[in-house]
């Protein structure tokens, strides 16, 4: 279902500018797909949305007052479903409903949010805007930049501006599509085709060759410059007609207009006229002039050209683009240049005829055509049809620098993934030859690319940023197919799998290992590059109202090329900002946008983590099929010691599950006499507080995590040194640990080997100079499980 919010247009009751676009576009969209499109309005009195029962109402109703109860079908936001599209073409910055809260709620339901951006003038050119517009627009555009899945823009210029804003203020890009607006007046007919009809409607213009300026009276439209030029024109039949309602910061200009000696004779201001009259004015004008300081689109210029009217525009914003060479263009703010063109027009009929011919040659887009194009764009966004999820999966794409490990991995692929018949490997220039030798031994037509060839020299040194940046560049390569299995060199396939484990027709399976990346404490008290990548992905995803599961499952995953490129293009804009977990980024956004093309499942990888003591998986690998290979795991004392690297799946699974059970028993699950509970320290600038509950199993193997929580609120910085000691009742200290406070989330506690009651003490010295202390008791009980 496509929902189009048209409330602001009906609330305001206008028919010009953005409101003209909304009325025309919304009507076309709703008419073309009546059963799957709703034109909706928020009713603050009822705190609910209603849908217009007839699309025609968006064109015929002047305002909300004209829409009676019988034409309002109220509905609740609960009715939204995954895959629905929310389209916002209106100037919603003055709408009652907070857009951020609304978008968050919609996205939580899996709705795709699409906005139509007309311009970003209040941010780009705040000097010419009303203060209240600046205030309200800032909030609305912030919500568009943060939450919109897609943005449609009315011109390439607006598109560029919007994406620059996203990069400047958010460090991201936006996924945009430029659309064309219509320029026809479908519901209007000119007042009369003949001169006599026009003269009857506008007798004051009889015998005048008037210049026409259409637009709200406000500084950006630059009427003052036009008035200056008009004053200098010597042609006796020259006149100026200004059409537009009174806007902001316009008092001085209006006073100048109304006190002008020609006002009412050769200078006219029509503050409110209908489409019919405007159409006639275009057709009979000597020329239409838009001297604006900026235009996101410049609808009057397009409308004028559509009526074959000679048109002059400044080169501001999108005006040269939308007039497509059919208008005379002068430099923005250059009154002399504008005057020169106008003066020449009146003096040289041949020049006027030349511009008239140019205008007549203009081929405008009609609203019906514009509606069809926008409908196609929205349909494509909603369906994901352009992404070709069903293209056959037969290729694997690796990052690799260790030929020996890649050899093992490819052998496992050859043995178990028989639907894979081609590979692409990205490696370093130094490792290229060795990697190529291994790759071509297993896959004779393997494509081997090097970092410098795909990513140039601007490759980040941070591990996570490097991986994400390289994958972004790699996935855009021609050698990569529409759907492929992405992998690292150390992902081993341990049993035969069919293509259906990854792709069933147009549905891709995505494997996650963590329900919520917001619970990722990091594998070590000191955060690694991987941990920071997880955290950055979590922050980016949650703040943009996407789910945040952890998909870095260390197993091959199916990726759609065009969608991953689209997502990375938007969210990984440069090498510096690439320290984001790429797997989680892709699958969370992709599965939110196209829920019908993704099936998420728990991961099926052994060896992730290498040891359960490194970090405690919240779920066990399900129907294990892959192994995240570590050579250390096969050394004496390792989890897989004595087992075959490419076999022994059953034994490996058993050992993994046993280790997991032991680890969970120590920290999470109650077993026998042991009742695990929370161990945490809350630190504030003034206080240290230890929280202890339950029992602790004796022995270093039953390592526990003491959560370190920042109690200062709002993430205020707390830095310093924290020491922890575990002492026997007699005073002998038996365990201790020391960490740097800052951004760490936990510290390890290796329980004493002997059961008993222990004193645990914490001493913190903060950078502020504060010395804090906390203490508590630990009840350590015997671990009855065999070693």
């Amino acid at each position: 279902m496509l929902y189009i919010d048209v409330g602001n247009t009906l609330r305001g009751g206008l028919r010009t500018g953005i409101q003209r676009v909304v009325r025309s576009l919304a009507f076309e969209l709703a008419s073309q797909a009546r059963s799957s499109t709703k034109l909706i309005v928020y009713d603050p009195a009822a705190s609910r949305y209603f849908a217009l029962t007839e699309p025609e109402l968006i064109r015929s109703a002047d305002s909300l007052a004209n829409i009676g109860p019988e034409s309002r079908a109220y509905f609740d936001l609960d009715g939204f479903a995954e895959g629905d599209v929310w389209f916002e073409p209106d100037s919603t910055w003055t709408e009652p409903l907070n857009r951020g809260a609304l978008f968050r709620q919609l996205k939580a339901k899996g709705v795709i949010v699409v906005v139509l951006n007309h311009d970003a003038i209040p941010v780009i050119l705040p000097e010419v805007c009303h203060p209240n517009t600046l205030v309200s627009f800032a909030e609305a555009i912030a919500d568009h930049l943060q939450y919109a899945d897609y943005a449609l823009t009315t011109s390439a210029g607006v598109d560029r501006d919007l994406r620059q804003l996203a990069r400047r203020f958010l460090g991201r890009d936006m996924t945009t599509r430029v659309i064309k607006l219509g320029a026809d007046f479908e519901t209007a007919a000119p007042i009369g085709e003949g001169e006599s009809s026009f003269a009857a409607a506008f007798p004051e213009l009889a015998g005048l060759n008037y210049l026409l300026s259409v637009g709200t009276i406000e500084p950006r439209k630059n009427h003052a410059l036009l008035l200056q030029a008009f004053d200098r024109l010597e042609a006796e039949d020259a006149a100026l007609v200004i059409v537009g309602r009174k806007g902001w910061m316009s008092e001085a200009l209006l006073a100048r207009l109304e006190n002008h000696p020609h006002y009412g004779h050769r200078l006219f201001w029509y503050s409110a006229i209908g489409d019919e009259a405007l159409l006639s004015l275009y057709r009979h004008a000597f020329a239409t002039v838009l001297p604006s300081q900026y235009e996101g689109y410049g609808l009057p210029a397009v409308e004028a050209l559509s009526q074959g009217c000679v048109t002059l525009v400044s080169d501001a914003g999108s005006l040269p683009e939308v007039t497509q060479g059919h208008a005379a263009v002068f430099t923005t703010g250059d009154g002399e240049a504008m005057f020169a063109i106008l003066d020449r027009l009146y003096r040289e009929p041949s020049y006027h005829a030349e511009l008239k011919a140019a205008a007549t040659g203009f081929r405008p887009t009609g609203w019906r055509e514009a509606g069809r194009a926008v409908a196609a764009a929205l349909d494509d966004i909603a369906s994901g049809a352009s992404h070709d999820f069903s293209a056959p999966l037969r290729q694997m794409v690796f990052l690799s620098v260790q030929a020996e490990v890649l050899d093992l991995s490819l052998a496992s692929v050859r043995a178990n993934l028989d639907f894979i018949d081609r590979i692409v490997v990205l490696t370093s220039p130094e490792a290229r030859d060795a990697i190529a030798a291994v790759a071509t031994r297993h896959f004779p037509k393997a494509v081997v690319l090097t970092d410098d060839a795909v990513a140039g020299v601007d490759i980040p040194t941070d591990h996570q940023a490097r991986n994400t940046w390289l994958r972004k560049q790699l996935y855009a390569q021609d050698a990569v197919e529409p759907n492929f299995l992405a992998a690292d060199e150390d992902y081993l396939a341990l049993r035969p799998l069919e293509r259906g484990c990854f792709q069933q027709f147009d549905v891709h399976r995505a494997y996650y290992f963590l329900e919520d990346m917001g619970t990722w404490l990091a594998g070590s008290p000191r955060a690694t590059s991987f941990d920071r990548g997880m955290r950055n992905a979590w922050r980016l995803l949650r703040e943009a109202a996407y789910p945040a599961r952890g998909f870095a499952s260390h197993q091959p995953q199916v990726i759609n090329k065009s969608l991953v490129n689209e997502i990375f293009e938007r969210l990984v804009v440069d090498a510096e900002s690439a320290a984001i977990n790429e797997w989680s980024l892709y699958f969370n956004v992709a599965s939110q946008l196209y829920p019908h093309h993704f099936l998420t499942k728990p991961y099926c990888t052994l060896g992730w983590p290498m040891r359960t003591g490194d970090w405690l998986p919240e779920m066990a690998p399900h129907e294990a099929a892959f192994e995240n290979y570590y050579a250390e795991s096969y050394e004496a004392g390792g989890l897989f010691a004595g087992l075959s690297r490419l076999g022994d799946l059953e034994a490996k699974t058993c050992r993994t599950l046993e280790a997991l059970t032991l680890a969970r028993r120590a920290e999470i699950e109650a077993s026998g006499a042991h009742v695990p509970g929370m161990l945490a320290v809350v630190v504030t600038p003034e206080t240290l507080k230890f929280i202890s509950a339950g029992t602790v199993l004796a022995g270093a193997r039953n390592v526990r995590r003491i959560l370190l929580s920042n109690g200062a609120g709002d993430g205020a910085a707390i830095a310093g040194k924290l020491d922890m000691f575990v002492a026997e009742p007699g005073g002998a200290v038996v365990r201790g640990e020391s960490v740097d406070l800052g951004e760490i989330c936990w510290m390890p506690l290796l329980p004493p080997e002997t059961p008993g009651l222990y004193l645990i003490r914490f001493f913190a010295t903060l950078d502020s100079g504060a010395r804090l202390e906390a203490r508590g008791l630990l009840t350590v009980i015997a671990d009855m499980e065999p070693q």
């Binding site: 070590s524 949650r542 993430g715």
Partner: protein, 185 residues
Amino acid sequence: MRISTQGSLYRLAKRLSIGRGLRYLDLWARYLWRRGQSRLDAHRGRLPGADLTAPATAIAEADMTTAKRMTVASWFPLDLANSRLHRALLASIAEARPDLSLSEAKLNCIARLKRGNDLAVVVDELVASGETAETINTALYVHLLRRLPAPSELPMIGSRHPRHALLAIRSGDEYRKQGRKMLAS
């Protein structure tokens, strides 16, 4: 291209068995030093704070998954209200339009109000932190009415207690008409 997140605890355990004696000595030395400092602090009357703070209570009462989420968020708070980006855009506008008088303090207040769950609590906190009535009330206007105070309202903005301003805005027609409805049912 492997990820090196693992092994820290393993390394720690190894450390315990290698050079255990030295490590034990180090442990004792640090413990005695810390304990001595603590006693000194006690003599000076600097007893450590021991009140159970609200975050401690929340963590103590949470299940493990929630506690982990709270812990991570305590160091890395999320901006779920999009206040950071909103503030940055307003700051950019304020720089180009000094006539708006949108000072840093006002921008900070707007961001705080936006992030807060309970506006009355945030207002009280802002008052307690020493922000002026003009600053807080202007921020309330921007946040709740999406406009700056009109010139005629400026005397009131500078003198009215922010809690009263909050009440007045929320009970007014303008707020009802275009106020900040957060969610639709």
